[in-house]
């Protein structure tokens, strides 16, 4: 199987994982974050910086990324949770802008605009592999991890609590649910999983610069895939990515930047207006009848 197709599989799984992580926050928690790319970028930069600038094994970077993103998530979320709906989303938009500015200006550590290139030294200790199949496996495992976590939360205690808070916070509180705690928990889980995606991206592409990882387009794509597949369902992000990632590859080569995102915008709008349940949601609704 040639590299082109393997690449598509890796990216499909990666996007499914990233979208799935966002789905936890937005689909279950009702927290529509438009700033996921911040967690993604932090996860990617953590491993790149520790490896390229300080010579640490990427496995350290993996852990560092998760720690960094979860603690930032706590810091940022706590004040933002008192905002509801669109105000919360507005506040989240600020976060990647700030991290991009930091990445651009903290040149000693992040190399600024020029970005970081990671030297390819294959070996498990560096999480770099000659064979693309290894990356396919890693991406697939990450996707499965996100799916597994989502299923465990879905209709489990955390899932029920989140839906309760979303439906009626007063009622939920009167049943002993602590809204801030559950929202914080889901945000931390989402941040950690997104950071893992960033880690994988860095290890796979071996080069990153601020625009490529902090871009709002990443946040758009992540949201779109879950919406198309079915927000608030475990399979939704996977289905969405399966449909869109190969299509996206095609769109990129045939159409290029502008038209591709134009179609994304149109699809986003279309899904919201015509099929807000997404593929999985609509199928589930039909099946119930």
């Amino acid at each position: 199987m040639n590299d082109y197709y393997l690449n598509i599989i890796v990216m499909t799984c990666l996007w499914a994982a990233l979208s799935g992580a966002w789905n936890l926050m937005a689909g279950y928690g009702g927290l529509v974050s438009l700033g996921q790319s911040a967690f993604f970028g932090i996860g990617a930069y953590a491993t790149a910086v520790l490896y390229a600038t300080y010579g640490f094994s990427p496995w350290v970077g993996l852990v560092a990324g998760v720690v960094l993103t979860t603690s930032t998530a706590v810091l940022i979320s706590w004040p933002c949770f008192r905002l509801r709906g669109a105000f919360f989303s507005l506040a989240t938009m600020v976060f990647p802008i700030v991290t991009e500015i930091i990445a651009n200006n903290w040149t000693d550590v992040t190399r600024g605009f020029t970005g970081i290139a990671m030297n390819f030294k294959p070996g498990i200790e560096n999480f770099m592999f000659q064979s693309r199949w290894a990356y396919v496996a890693a991406a697939f495992l990450l996707m499965l991890l996100v799916y597994g976590v989502t299923r465990w939360i879905h209709r489990g205690r955390l899932g029920l609590y989140l839906i309760a808070v979303r439906d009626d916070q007063d009622a939920a509180e009167s049943m002993g649910v602590e809204p801030v705690r559950v929202k914080l928990l889901i945000t931390m889980i989402s941040a950690a999983l997104t950071s893992l995606g960033g880690f994988l991206y860095a290890q796979y592409i071996l080069f990153l610069d601020p625009p490529s990882v902090f871009s709002i387009n990443i946040s758009v794509q992540i949201a779109l895939f879950s919406l198309i597949g079915g927000l608030g369902t475990p399979l939704g992000p996977i289905v969405g990515s399966l449909i869109m990632t190969p299509l996206d590859g095609l769109l990129s080569t045939v159409l290029g930047g502008g038209p591709r995102l134009l179609i994304y915008g149109a699809v986003l709008l279309g899904v919201v207006l015509l099929a807000p349940q997404g593929v999985v949601g609509t199928l589930q609704a039909r099946w119930r009848k």
């Binding site: 979303r166 439906d167 009167s174």
Partner: protein
């Protein structure tokens, strides 16, 4: 004041005051409730009954005064802590969790003190107990008002409370539905030993169920006694109907 009060009281409301700007909605209200007691809370609209409930369940803070539950000072604690302490409440304007089924609604509360498997069993039992067994897996958003009222009760029961706060749970129900609910509430107090405070305009229900009635008017407690005595109390009559002096 009831001479048998003090140490055996489950809930002690002591001189609670709550103001909204210039309006004093609850003005130095004190009373107690013991285990297994059904207390009626009545008064004209706007008397401060729901505000008092909101203070007892943590949804509102008190400006002055103290609320003690199960021996602990719970004044101004947030609702989740009240639920954990053992207070379950219904809301006057029903708040079903629409995305969830009837069973799942009850499970949310049951999960407070149980793991998922046990919570599911207990929730199912409670749903049956309030007579909604047939609607177990129905989405809460599609229920009729009567069912939503029962769901409120199921949810209040799901946290395994010692005290139930029922806010006009009978409003909007027809005569036979009211009778069923009266039976249910009575059995909850007698069989399960729950204490109940019920805000009710349905005086027939209050007379059948309550051992004691507290009357509020403009935020002030104007009477507290046996139901038969209270309904004849001149101040109470005046509050509802207006006195001849006005």
């Amino acid at each position: 004041m009831n001479p048998c009060a003090s140490t055996s009281a489950l809930l002690k409301v002591d001189s609670v005051v709550r103001r909204f700007g210039g309006l004093t909605a609850v003005n130095q209200v004190s009373f107690e409730v013991r285990q297994g007691e059904i207390v009626g809370l009545i008064g004209p609209n706007g008397a401060g009954k729901t505000t008092l409930f909101n203070i007892i369940s943590g949804h509102l803070s008190a400006n002055e005064g103290r609320v003690e539950f199960d021996g602990r000072d719970m004044t101004n604690r947030r609702p989740p802590l009240w639920a954990k302490a053992g207070v379950g409440r219904t809301f006057q304007i029903v708040k079903p969790l629409k995305s969830l089924s009837v069973l799942e609604n009850a499970m949310v509360g049951a999960l407070l003190k149980n793991n998922k498997a046990v919570a599911r069993e207990r929730a199912a039992a409670i749903v049956e107990r309030v007579g909604m067994g047939a609607l177990m897996h129905q989405p809460a958003g599609s229920l009729t008002l009567e069912s939503r009222k029962r769901l409120e009760l199921a949810r209040a029961l799901s946290v395994e409370p010692k005290l139930l706060l029922l806010d006009e749970i009978l409003a909007g129900l027809n005569a036979s539905e009211v009778e069923e609910s009266i039976h249910l509430i009575r059995s909850l107090a007698e069989v399960d030993g729950l204490a109940v405070i019920m805000i009710e305009h349905n005086l027939h229900a209050v007379m059948s169920l309550a051992q004691r009635v507290v009357v509020l008017d403009y935020g002030v407690k104007i009477a507290e006694d046996l139901p038969e005595v209270v309904v004849r109390h001149p101040k109470v009559v005046a509050a509802y109907l207006g006195s001849d002096d006005e």
